[in-house]
Every structure is written in C-alpha cells, then in structure tokens.
C-alpha cells in the first residue's frame, strides 16, 4: 500500500521531536518554554497523522494494512509494521492522549522539563510501536523499551514514595516479560519465523501451546494488571505525576489486553480454551475484590487505580468468553477506559495541583467554588460507572451480553461489579464535591483555567460520542474480530476430531 509510510512517520515523529528538544540550548526559562511547545506541537502533529491513519483505514478487510517490511538485524529481526482493526484504534488512543498529557504537565512540571518531555516523546514511540509491530521481536523491543521512560517519569517527577513505586513497576513488569521473551524465542524456532502474520497461521503443538500461553499470561497479566499481580499498579499510580498516571491507565494497561488479542487467543487457541476458566476466575475476583478495596480507599488516585483493575477484569472476562459481543465489548471497554481513567486522573490532578493532597478527606464542597470542575468530574464519574449515553456503558453492556452467552453465573457476578463501581465512584464524588465548604484553604481555590478546559472538553466530547454513537469505532473492529473468532473456532473444531481419534485409538 502506498500509505505504508504513515506508521513509520508515527514512530519517527516523536523521536525526532525528542531529539530536537535534546539540542535546545539557552537559559532555563527559555529551554523549558521551548521544550513544552515543541512537545505539544509534536504530539498534536502525531495526533493528526494518527487520524489520517484512521481515515485511510479500510474496515472491510481483516488483513493487515499500511504494511511496511524492511530487512533489519540479520535475518532475525525485520522491521515489519502494519495494523488491523484491532490495533489501529489503540494507536489513535495513544496519539490522542499524548497532547493531553503534555498540556496537563504544562505548569505542574517545573524541574527538568526538557528531560520530562523527551521521556514522554520516547514513550509515545514505544507505545505506538507495540501496537504497530508485526514482528515478535520488534513487539518485544517496544513492549519492554517503554519501561525505561516510564521508570524515569515515575522516579524523577513522582511523589514522596516514588523510588519504591518505580522499582516495583519496573521489576514486576520485567519479571513478567522475560517469560514472554523465552516463549518468543521458542516460537521463533518452532515456527521458523518471527513474523506475526505467519505465526497467526501456524498451528503450535497443543502441548507446547499450554506453556507458551502461560508464559504470555505471565507478562500480560502483570501489565493488565490482573489479580493477584496487580499490586504494583496502585503504587505506581499514586506516585506517578498526573500525566504519568494518565499514560499508565490510558495506554500501558491496554498493552496486556492487546497482547491477549494478538498472541494468546489467535496463536494458542487450544490453550486459550483450556485456561479460560482461570481467566474467568481471576477476572471475577478482580472485579469484586478490587471494587471492595476501592470502596475503602482514602486516597483519590489509589481509588481510581483500583477501579482500573476492576475495569480490566471486565476486559479479560470479555476477551475470553470468545464471542463477538464479548471481544468487541472488551476492546471497546479498553478504549473507553483509556479515555475515562485518563480523564479521572487528570481530574484528580487538577485539585492536586492546587492543594498538593490526594486525601479525599481534605476536600469537600468543591461544587460551591468550582462549578465547572464539578460538572466535568460528574461526567467522568458517571462514565466510569457506565451510565447509558457514555462510552463506559457500551463496553460494559457488550461484555455482559457476551458473558451471559457463555454462562449466566459469569454475567451475574460481573454485574455486581457494576453496582460496586457505582458505589465507590459516587461515594468519591459525594465526598469531594458535595457537602458544605468548610475547610478554609479550599475557599480560595480557582475553577478550571482555559488550559484545563482545553484538556477536558475533548475528553468529554469523546466519551459522549463513543457512548451515543459507537458505530464508527465498532465498525473498525468488526471484521477483524470476526476473523479472529472464525480462526479460533476453526482451530478448536480442527482439534476435536484428533482428540476423538486418539480416544478411539486408545480403545482398540
């Protein structure tokens, strides 16, 4: 395809901008100002490019598009990019959140601005690379490479306990990923290629599938995160600067779900079927348990972090019921959560910038002095709860439909998560926004500035648009998801006669 340069442009642009920022010279004031502007324009330009990608994307085929393949490291690692209906929207999501992150850090980051912007731009490249890679090694490179900028973002610009959080984040993720690396190496030898498009056609030995599936689970479950390997997330979220939390919740968590979709399900269908119960169990525990934990939180960021884990429980549940509604709902939920969780962290960031506290009990009655803030907060709270008309509703209802098709018990337990979700979010909203304005230092807090409005307005628009008219998003997904499920069902069907034949052979 002639537009194959788009993906490369998406990767190169942020890097190029990072390099430009690197060579900015001058006194600190000027450098900071230029770095901020350069990063903003770079990410905005990338957003435009990603929208172009979406516009040119052909939703009628499940094939990979915008494919670009070049020789790279010997014959082991080619430079191979491409997107299909599953990955293209994650790229758009990433590009959409980046300028918002830069804007959100405009005033709150005052030290080492240059390095900060460079870290974010490099992070953007690695995130887009993850979703655009069509080669196992290239995927791993980007998947792990993103750890370095994120580690620095949490560790340098984070809160009081940032060192602990950054180490926990890094080592947890690394430990999970090295198992995946071994699986990747094994797959390379078993199939004789690291090309994802070819691996999708390859039938792995059923015995090996189990181990490979578990190795990928080790990585994606940490990234997602699934209970019980979720404990790094609340720490990382609480300590990260606002924009770091936004990227973490908005994009990094989605890599786990994307990994399941790209690798675990299509490449190891038999193992996916076999271990679905495990995913269901972990998902339901995540949904119920972390929702209860969220109810008990005193720290706003921690509460939202736990709510993220619960929402990711919906995603994994939807993915592994393996029907159209479930998978499409899961993807939609990931995209919508990417926006909503990001928005909620930004909401917390607004009051944190003013009062430097995330304690819920430090606030109360903000509606009296910050009416615009209260409105935005309400929209995102309700979206997180899954109110019809917001994007949260579409994802959750589709997942519940899918789960119900698989088992009514699954749907029942998952639905309690919705109730609990409403409980903790509304409880948070009541404590922060409603009530009397009693605390002295709250009384002179300013309402949203134009810069902050510029951050929230597009987020609200997207949340409502995806809630009211989700068709453009679902249309992009549809063919690719159908193709995924058709291949999955074919693989399952193909394996069954073998099992019977073996059983019959044993009987003789």
């Amino acid at each position: 395809m002639s537009e194959s340069w788009i993906l490369t442009a998406l990767l190169v642009l942020p890097l190029g901008m990072a390099f430009l920022i690197l060579i900015i010279r001058g006194d600190e004031e000027t450098v900071n100002k230029n770095a901020r502007h350069a990063a903003l324009w770079g990410t905005l330009f990338n957003l435009g490019t990603s929208l172009l990608l979406w516009a040119k994307f052909d939703p009628t085929t499940a094939d990979f598009q915008f494919v670009q393949k070049l020789e790279w490291i010997g014959d082991v690692v080619p430079y191979h990019l491409g997107v299909d209906g599953i990955s293209v929207l994650f790229i758009v999501l990433t590009a959409f959140l980046m300028p918002i992150c830069i804007l959100a850090s405009w005033n709150s980051i005052q030290v080492r601005v240059k390095e900060y912007m460079i870290a974010f731009l490099v992070l953007e490249t690695t995130m887009i690379g993850v979703f655009a890679s069509l080669d196992l090694f290239l995927f791993y490179l980007f998947f792990e490479g993103g750890l370095i900028p994120m580690f620095l973002i949490i560790g340098i610009w984070g809160g009081a306990n940032r060192v602990y959080a950054s180490f926990k984040f890094f080592l947890y993720t690394l430990l999970g990923s090295v198992f995946m690396l071994l699986a990747v190496l094994y797959m390379y030898f078993a199939a004789g290629t690291s090309d994802i498009t070819l691996l999708l056609q390859y039938d792995f030995d059923p015995g090996a599938q189990k181990w490979l599936w578990l190795a990928f689970l080790a990585s994606f479950a940490v990234k997602m995160p699934m209970w019980p390997v979720h404990t790094w997330l609340p720490d990382a979220h609480v300590e990260a600067p606002t924009a770091g939390s936004v990227i973490l919740a908005g994009v990094l968590l989605k890599m786990g779900g994307y990994g399941f979709l790209r690798f675990s399900i299509p490449m190891f269908p038999l193992a996916s079927q076999e271990f679905a119960w495990l995913i269901f169990a972990l998902s339901l525990i995540a949904i119920v348990y972390t929702s209860l934990v969220a109810l008990a939180q005193e720290d706003m960021k921690k509460l939202i972090a736990y709510s993220s884990i619960a929402h990711m429980g919906f995603v994994t549940l939807g993915l592994f019921v393996l029907n159209t509604q479930g998978v499409e709902g899961a993807i939609f939920q990931m995209l919508s959560h990417g926006i909503i969780a990001a928005a909620l962290f930004l909401i917390v960031g607004v009051v944190y910038d003013r009062l430097h506290s995330r304690e819920i009990s430090r606030y109360g009655g903000l509606v009296h002095i910050m009416p615009r803030y209260a409105v935005f907060f309400m929209v995102f709270t309700l979206a997180s709860v899954g109110l019809p008309g917001t994007s949260g509703f579409v994802g959750e209802i589709l997942v519940l439909f899918g789960a119900y098709k698989a088992s009514s018990l699954l749907a029942f337990v998952a639905a309690t998560g919705l109730v609990l979700g409403a409980a903790y979010m509304l409880y948070l909203y009541r404590r922060v926004i409603y009530g009397d304005l009693e605390k002295e230092d709250l009384k002179d807090m300013l309402d949203l500035s134009p810069r902050e409005m510029a951050i929230f307005v597009p987020l609200v628009a997207v949340v409502l648009w995806m809630g009211i008219y989700p068709a453009p998003v679902l249309d992009v997904l549809h063919v690719s998801v159908d193709n995924l499920l058709a291949n999955y069902n074919a693989a399952i069907a193909a394996s069954e006669p073998v099992v019977e034949a073996v059983a019959a052979g044993g009987a003789h």
Binding site: I73, G74, L152, G155, S166, F167, L171, L174, V178, L182
Partner: protein
C-alpha cells in the same frame, strides 16, 4: 631451507608490539620519567598501528611457527576487540594516574606487553603457545594490579591475584599434561582431528580438559572461580580495573571458545554440562552478590562475573550460532564496560577520586551528560530493550533455546531480572536522589570521547550497527567452527 624460516606475516601485529614494547622499555629505563608522556602516547599509537596490522593480515586462515600460531577470521575479530579495549583504557588512564602520583613509564609498557600476551592467546593453536601467551599476559597484569605500590589495597590486590593466578596456571598446566599424556599431542589442529569423528576420548583427556577449563574459568572469572575478582577489581587502580574488565576477559574468552569449539568440538556432549554449570553459577553469583555492594568497582566486578555467565550461555549451545552470539555479546560487553569505566574514571571530587556508589547521588543535576551516559550503560548492562545490551542477551538466549537448553535460558532471564535491580539502583541514585558533592568536570578530553562514543554505540543508534556486527561475528564464528 625454506622451512626453517617461519612465515612471519600472520604474526605481524604481535611482532610489532613485542619490538615496540622493548623499545619503549629501553626508552623509559634510560631516560626515566622525563619521557613518560612520550611513552604513554607512543604506546597508544602502537596499539592503534597494531589494530590496523590485524586488519592488514586479514581473515584468511594461516598457520605458522610449525602449527603453533594461527590467524583467521576468528582471531581477527577477537584481536580487534582486545586492541580496542586496551587502547581505550590506555588513553583514559592518565588523569587517574597523575592524580594518584603513579604516572610512570612502566604503566604503558606493561599494558602493551599484556596486550601482546592477549593477542598470542587469541592466536594460540597449541597448548604451548596458549600457555606462553597466557603467562605473558598474567604476569603483566599481576604487576599492573599492584601498580599503586605504596597503597596497601593495591599491593594486596596484586599479591592475591598473583597467588590465585599461579594456582590456576598450575591447574591449567596439569590439565595440559594430562591431555598430552593421553592423546600424544598438544596441537589444536591434531587434537581436533582426533575427536572430530565421534571417537570416544580416554578418561585422561576428559579429566585434563576439566582442569584446563577450570584454569581458563579463573581467567574469565566465571563462578565458582571468581573469588579473586571483587578484591582485585576494588584494590587495583581504577584504570587497571577497567583494563581487567575489558581486554583480558575477551582474550581468555577467545581461548575458551577456540579450545572448546575449535578443538574439542567433537566432545560437545562431554563439556557442555560443565559450561552450563559455569554459566548458571556465574549468572547467579553475579546477580545476587552485586545487590549488596557499595563500591562501584566491586559492583562492576560482580557485574562482569554475571556477564561472563551470559556469554557462556551462547557457548553452552555448542553451535556456530552460539559462538556468533557469544562474539556479539563480548563486543557489546566491551563497549558497555569501557563506557561505564569512563564514567567511573570521571568520578572526581575536589579531594580526589572516589568510588562509592553513593557519591553518584544527584549526578543528573551536576553532570547531566555524564549521568545520561552512565544511565545508558546501566540500562544496557541490564539488557533492557532499545539499548545494545538487549541484543546481546537476545542472541545468546536464542542460541540456547535453539539448542534445547530451556532451563539454562530460564535461569538466565531470571538472573537478568535480579541483575536489573542493581543497575537500576545506580540510575536511581543518579536521578532520583538529592545531589551530593558535585564532581569536578572531567578535564581529560579522551575520557569524554570514550564515554561519548560508547554511549552512542549503546544507545538506540545501535539498531543500525547490530546487523553488520552480527554478520561479522558470524563470519568469525564460521572461521573457527569447521
């Protein structure tokens, strides 16, 4: 008559260094320390010339000195690395030596003789020339370790290295004698012929091979023969430590590879378990013991033990691609180590050099460029993707998996996660902690140059260099493994 004159062309770099070292020695002895700067510069120049001579000799397979000496694509690769390592250390050494008041003419001369020994090790095609090269190298290194002779720690390091080194040489010699006694030859080419056809070796040869391997494991500081490494690394003057970490390790690794893959390749099944054991032990020791270090030179010692373990993963595979991965790993290791030591050599307060990890606190504010470079080296040493170190690890594990060594690969990746912790700790101290006393700006341009070049090599720019490096290493490995 013709046969009585050996063909000298393949040994040109060695002859050049041998003659040059003697000239420099004479110059130094008779003109004493007035010429130490000249000697230093001349030595660096000689290493550079030797580097070009190595390429002038070229990758064609040539055997000379009655089969004692070999020159091929493999020796070309390894000699280039050794000379790069020695040369880079030599140009970085002066500021430290001047600071400690031990800038004497013997230093460059000893570096040149040690390098000469290493080149001979790389080119050894017989147990005799192996031992000759090894001892020339070792004796020079013993003296270098004790070079700061007025300081107790340095002399202790030298003595310790000497005693343990002598022990290992003893084991090596014993092993050589056993191999000779049971096979009747010390020549690598003949030995390779004896065991290539799947012939069962006598127990004596195997026992001898174990002893030789133990002696060489000491030289590459593979666990459990690593005990000397932390003490010697810490006690020796820092440029000497950098030298230890860079060049001799590569030369000794070349020996191990030539011996196991070039000579005893037919006995893969017999030595593979040994290498697997050395590899696992080194990775684990390197990863866990480094966690508790407070001195950066000690930390680098354990780090180097760990990296030898990772490189041996490639050798354990016992295949050509395994050797290729080992060669690539050593090349990347060289660039990481040289860079890290360039940073360590720049750790200078007003009161003098310092080597505590805590002295790095807040380096990112005081010396942002040096901090960025050291961070690149640390992430690269940890093997995090986007940096060169990852490709080294990727290739050795690739070789291990293709050879079916799943347990080894699993332990390897877990050790690399543990190892990541202490590399990250240095990044944390530099970037997250509040500044300590600021370092003085590095005055030496050559240290800055080495730091900059190696940082660029390890940065994502390495994406463009990995491909030719792998191709070159593949050619080198192909020349060795027949």
């Amino acid at each position: 008559m013709e046969q009585s004159y050996p063909n000298l062309i393949p040994a040109l770099p060695e002859l050049w260094l041998a003659l040059g070292a003697l000239v420099l020695l004479m110059l130094g002895v008779f003109r004493t320390n007035h010429v130490r700067r000249t000697v230093n510069n001349a030595a660096a120049l000689m290493l550079a010339v030797a580097f070009f001579l190595v390429f002038a000799v070229g990758p064609t397979h040539q055997v000379t000195f009655s089969g004692l000496f070999v020159s091929d694509g493999f020796t070309l690769f390894m000699k280039a690395l050794v000379l790069l390592g020695s040369g880079a250390v030599l140009v970085m050494s002066k500021p430290y030596l001047v600071d400690k008041d031990i800038f004497r003419f013997e230093y460059p001369v000893l570096v040149v003789t040690a390098t000469l020994g290493m080149l001979m090790m790389v080119s050894a095609n017989d147990m005799l020339s192996l031992y000759l090269g090894l001892e020339l190298q070792s004796l020079s290194l013993y003296v270098l370790a004790a070079f700061n002779r007025d300081r107790q720690r340095s002399t202790e390091a030298g003595l310790k290295y000497f005693v343990l080194g002598a022990l290992s040489s003893g084991m090596l010699l014993y092993g050589i004698s056993l191999i000779y006694g049971f096979s009747g030859t010390t020549n690598f080419t003949i030995l390779a012929g004896l065991y290539s056809g799947g012939a069962t070796p006598s127990v004596g040869v195997l026992v001898g091979l174990v002893f030789v391997l133990a002696g060489l494991a000491f030289k590459i500081s593979a666990a459990p023969f690593h005990m000397w490494t932390p003490d010697v690394y810490e006690g020796a003057p820092t440029p000497v430590t950098a030298f230890f970490a860079a060049a001799p390790k590569i030369a000794a690794m070349a020996l191990v590879v030539r011996l196991l893959m070039g000579t005893f390749q037919g006995l893969v099944a017999d030595w593979q378990q040994l290498v697997v054991f050395l590899s696992i032990a080194s990775m684990v020791v390197g990863a866990f013991l480094a966690l508790v270090q407070t001195n950066i030179k000690r930390l680098m010692a354990y780090s180097s033990i760990g990296h030898v373990g990772f490189a041996l993963v490639g050798l354990a595979a016992g295949t050509t691609e395994g050797v290729t991965s080992l060669l690539v790993y050593m090349a990347i290791y060289l660039s990481m180590t040289l860079g890290a030591f360039a940073c360590i050599l720049s750790m200078r307060h007003k009161e003098g050099m310092c080597e505590d990890i805590s002295d790095l606190a807040g380096l990112a504010k005081n010396q942002p460029r040096m901090a960025a470079a050291l961070a690149i080296f640390m992430f690269s040493l940890a093997g995090i993707p986007l940096l060169a170190g990852f490709f080294g690890k990727l290739l050795v594990f690739l070789a291990a998996i293709s050879a079916g060594l799943y347990t080894l690969a699993l332990i390897g990746v877990l050790a690399s996660v543990v190892g990541a912790f202490y590399y990250l700790r240095i990044v944390k101290i530099m970037y997250f902690d509040e500044p300590a006393d600021a370092f003085e700006a590095p005055e030496s341009r050559s240290i800055g140059l080495v730091m900059g070049v190696t940082a660029a090599l390890n940065s994502p720019l390495s994406f463009f260099l990995i491909s030719p490096l792998v191709a070159w290493a593949g050619a080198a490995a192909g020349a060795l493994v027949l």
